[in-house]
């Protein structure tokens, strides 16, 4: 009986606590998909409505080719679905956990800040990409998509999910109330996403608008993702990839810092 007590002591894992990571990852991923019809069917239905709406509006009002319009808008909507889900998976979840004090589950577990940050980034990326895949399947009902550069497509899908997952994590750590969370979502993130060239090529916009949109990191994610599908891009895909990598790295370091210091988590 004395032997097990002796086994207690400082953490004894290899360099990385793989088992702990896997558990946290599974826990975070599952929490978002408890209600499938809410997490998956909701975005699928609302995005199908957006597409239907654009087809009806363009055929009734313009001579635009609806197929070309869909080919342009669909990648943006898929990206948007990935982003919204990844953001919610980490952000809304964190605030909920803070209010119910369940975040102690992973604060107490023997995980390093790096492991925690990686698990949060990865679980929300996976959640976002799962919803994105469902929305992508739905768009098949409207048009057969092209697949110009599958590698770029996968890269930008993951980068979109991870960036929004990390932003959601930061916001979830920082926000004390739901009001703050929804306010930042409605007044900052949603405008940035909507005004990123999802719905129209920026080449046709006034010069000032073009310059402003080029300051918006989400523009590069969506443009890169669209490049992966249609092969056409408004920005250099390499630049888009660099922006995506840089943003993700910076956000990851920020999340890591907050997890390490315990800012608003261990107070």
């Amino acid at each position: 009986m004395a032997a097990p007590a002796l086994r207690l002591g400082p953490r004894r894992f290899g360099r990385v606590n793989w088992r702990g990571c896997l558990n946290l990852l599974r826990r975070q991923f599952k929490s978002g998909f408890a209600d499938l019809h809410y997490t998956i069917l909701g975005p699928v239905v609302s995005n199908a409505l957006y597409l239907l709406l654009f087809v009806i509006a363009s055929t009734s009002l313009t001579r635009l080719d609806p197929q070309a319009l869909i080919a342009f808008i669909a990648p943006g909507l898929i990206c948007f679905a990935i982003a919204e889900r990844a953001f919610e998976a980490s952000g809304a979840n964190l605030i909920f956990e803070k209010h119910h004090n369940t975040h102690t589950d992973w604060l107490m577990a023997p995980l390093t800040a790096t492991e925690r940050a990686a698990c949060f980034a990865l679980s929300s990326t996976l959640g976002g990409v799962t919803v994105g895949a469902a929305v992508a399947l739905m768009t098949l009902a409207f048009s057969w998509p092209s697949l110009a550069h599958p590698g770029a497509l996968i890269f930008f899908a993951l980068a979109t999910g991870m960036m929004h997952g990390l932003i959601g994590t930061l916001l979830g750590i920082w926000a004390l109330k739901w009001d703050q969370y929804t306010a930042l979502h409605t007044f900052v993130l949603l405008p940035l996403a909507f005004l990123s060239g999802v719905f129209a090529p920026i080449d046709k916009m006034p010069e000032l608008a073009q310059h402003l949109i080029r300051l918006n990191p989400i523009f590069y994610l969506i443009d890169g993702f669209r490049y992966g599908m249609s092969g056409a891009a408004s920005a250099d895909p390499l630049l888009s990839a660099l922006v995506a990598l840089g943003m993700n790295l910076a956000l990851f370091l920020w999340v890591h810092r907050w997890f390490r210091s315990g800012y608003r988590l261990k107070s």
Partner: protein, 269 residues
């Protein structure tokens, strides 16, 4: 003294109508959304402006005019109406559902209010939110969209009728729903599709026949069409039919809501 206070207890003693009670319920419903005005008024204002920007960006360069007005002027009334309907619905449905889940629904059920007073008080809160959001989105659009008021009566009538109709539907949905999931399902699969496919974004006249039929079967089509007529002086459907549909739908919903409150369906289990 003691006997006199006990003698004041007893059956309800108001005239035909409990004005104080009604006023209190109405004030509670209004304060509930005013205290979080950023989420309940400012947020819909911003999202409506975003919708305007998106449609103008995506289609504006290809559409000169709809009928004889610019696309923006055509779009704006539909967007204002969408904001009105969604917020009127959200106000009553969330109020009742949250009260049910938190247990403070007794605050609505215990006071000496008749079913009619409950109906009017609840619907009045939603109506007020719908109208305030409508005015807010209208003001927000003024700098971007040239808007006139060709027939103010139609603007006013449809704003009030639509707001009332959606807040009554919200009451019914709130009474029916037992979980937040139920409400999310109603919003995602009924209210939003009905609003999107109502002709807010396009002219129903130029649709293929099938989609015209769909539009005409949707009560939201009539409120948006009539409301837009008030601004631009052009309607896709019949104006008389629009008024009749709105009056009929509201009468039916008032009766249904009153009935649900009277019976206590899913409220007094």
């Amino acid at each position: 003294m003691i006997t006199s206070t006990t003698s004041t207890l007893g059956p309800r003693r108001y005239r035909a109508f409990n004005w104080v009670g009604l006023q209190t319920l109405y004030a509670k419903e209004v304060r509930r959304f005013v205290s979080v005005a950023t989420q309940t008024v400012l947020a819909p204002m911003v999202t409506t402006l975003l919708f305007l920007a998106v449609f103008v960006l995506a289609l504006g360069h290809a559409v000169d005019r709809v009928g004889d007005v610019a696309y923006m002027s055509f779009l704006a009334p539909g967007l204002i109406m969408m904001a009105i309907t969604q917020n009127a619905f959200a106000n009553t449905s969330s109020s009742i559902l949250i009260s049910k889940i938190q247990g403070n629904i007794v605050d609505l059920l215990m006071p000496p209010l008749s079913p009619l007073e409950r109906t009017i008080g609840m619907a009045g809160g939603g109506l007020t939110r719908g109208l305030i959001v409508g005015v807010a989105t209208w003001v927000a659009m003024l700098p971007f969209v040239p808007m006139s008021a060709a027939h103010p009566f139609y603007i006013l009538f449809h704003a009030v009728a639509a707001s009332l109709m959606m807040s009554l539907i919200g009451v019914v949905a709130g009474i029916w729903a037992e979980k937040f999931d139920h409400m999310a399902a109603i919003t995602n699969f009924v209210v939003t599709p009905a609003a999107f496919l109502s002709g807010a974004f396009y002219s129903a006249q130029r649709l293929p026949e099938f989609w015209q039929g769909v539009a005409h079967a949707n009560p939201l089509f009539y409120m948006i069409d009539g409301f837009r007529y008030g601004f631009i002086g052009h309607a896709d459907g019949s104006l008389g039919a629009g008024i009749a549909v709105m009056l009929g739908a509201n009468a039916l919903l008032l009766w249904l809501t009153h009935r649900l409150f009277a019976v206590g369906y899913r409220l007094k289990a």
